[in-house]
Amino acid sequence: GIVRIPLRKHKSMREALREKGIELPYQDPALKYQPDEFSSS
């Protein structure tokens, strides 16, 4: 009764952008959970 889905790990978007020479500024990871504050910021 268990359905197993194999997952593949990739670099985070931040890491992938860094390798392209683009450094994202710090952004609070918790903004993801407070979309209203994210929109206003």
Binding site: V3, R8, H10
Partner: protein
């Protein structure tokens, strides 16, 4: 003598396949679509609703900010097949605008959120809720095993937990807010000594869509001091790689049980130009949880060490050594 029904193929579409990020930190399902032509959308496989006889639009639009990347889109319904589980009339978001560079480098074409429906944008019914209401699972549970090394080996299980992927006992803790997979953290230890930093209560959101372990900003300085880490550029904290064996074990006390993280779990080793660098996989969060308590995020750094089981029937989370 015989009449064959031979036109069944007229009503059959080639399935459209997408790579999605399975994210316990959000609730919506969306994929890139032909309605979007930004650089980020053009870098991915796009859903074409005109090539699906089972698709229907509902006309509602949405905006989804993830912090790292955001998008605009429109909702519709279609049949969704996830690992051979077929969900009928699943609401899906079709991107219409993915601004910026963030999603350009993403290896996924969309995100499949596994949180509770209360935080779903547009009131979209999450995939897991449709799996439950359509009785598609033998148990209303899913579980993540995140491999420690390499691209391969990680597994998401629907309908139960895989006893081959964890060792020892499962420690259960109740969900404190049926929105995210949020739990209470009742203590925080460094090398087995209780710090008291969560004595008034802390919360943690268990999020497979976040890479790091994040700590409340008021604690980050104390934690880095205990680790002996120095702040580097771009807010990263670095340690001397030769000292890895001397770094402390950090433990979270959850429902009376201490879950340790060894240095090997929270230190990332990088190699560049023949040099080894060691960064701390812990970053600060400045926003508190919705009940005002300090907020941690148990991202992949934590989840590689602990098999995590998400139980919707009992609204509880289980952890066992991976």
């Amino acid at each position: 003598d015989y009449m064959y029904i031979n036109n069944y193929a007229d009503y059959w579409n080639t399935p459209q396949s997408f790579q999605v990020l399975f994210d316990t930190g959000s609730a919506n399902l969306w994929v890139d679509s032909i309605y979007c032509s930004t650089q980020a959308c053009n870098a991915h496989t796009k859903f074409n609703p005109q090539q699906s006889s089972t698709y229907s639009a509902n006309g509602h639009t949405f905006y989804l900010p993830y912090g790292a990347g955001s998008l605009y889109g429109t909702f519709g319904y279609d049949t969704v097949n996830v690992g051979s589980i077929v969900i009928n009339h699943q609401e899906i978001g079709l991107s219409t605008n993915e601004p910026g560079q963030n999603f350009v480098v993403a290896k996924f074409d969309g995100i499949l959120g596994l949180s509770y429906p209360s935080i779903s944008a547009g009131g979209e019914t999450p995939v897991m809720d449709n799996m439950i209401s359509q009785n598609l699972l033998s148990a209303n549970i899913f579980a993540f095993y995140l491999s420690r090394g390499g691209q391969q080996g990680s597994v998401l299980s629907f309908g139960g937990m895989d006893t081959n992927l964890y060792q020892g006992q499962i420690y259960w803790t109740p969900v404190t807010s049926e929105s995210y997979w949020q739990i209470g953290v009742h203590g925080f230890e460094i090398n087995g000594r209780e710090t008291g930093w969560c004595s008034q209560g802390c919360q943690s959101i268990v999020d497979t869509g976040t890479s790091a372990l994040t700590a409340p900003s008021q604690l980050i300085g104390h934690i880095m001091q205990a680790i002996g880490a120095q702040e580097s550029h771009y807010g990263m904290y670095m340690v001397d790689c030769s000292q890895l064996n001397n770094l402390p074990t950090l433990s979270f006390v959850i429902s009376g049980v201490a879950l340790p993280l060894a240095p090997s779990a929270y230190i990332n080793q990088h190699y560049q130009n023949g040099h080894q660098f060691c960064s701390v996989g812990i970053t600060p969060t400045y926003l508190p949880s919705r009940n005002g308590q300090p907020l941690w995020i148990f991202g992949d750094v934590f989840l590689r060490e602990y098999y995590s089981i998400y139980d919707r029937t009992n609204n509880r989370l289980g952890f066992a050594s991976a």
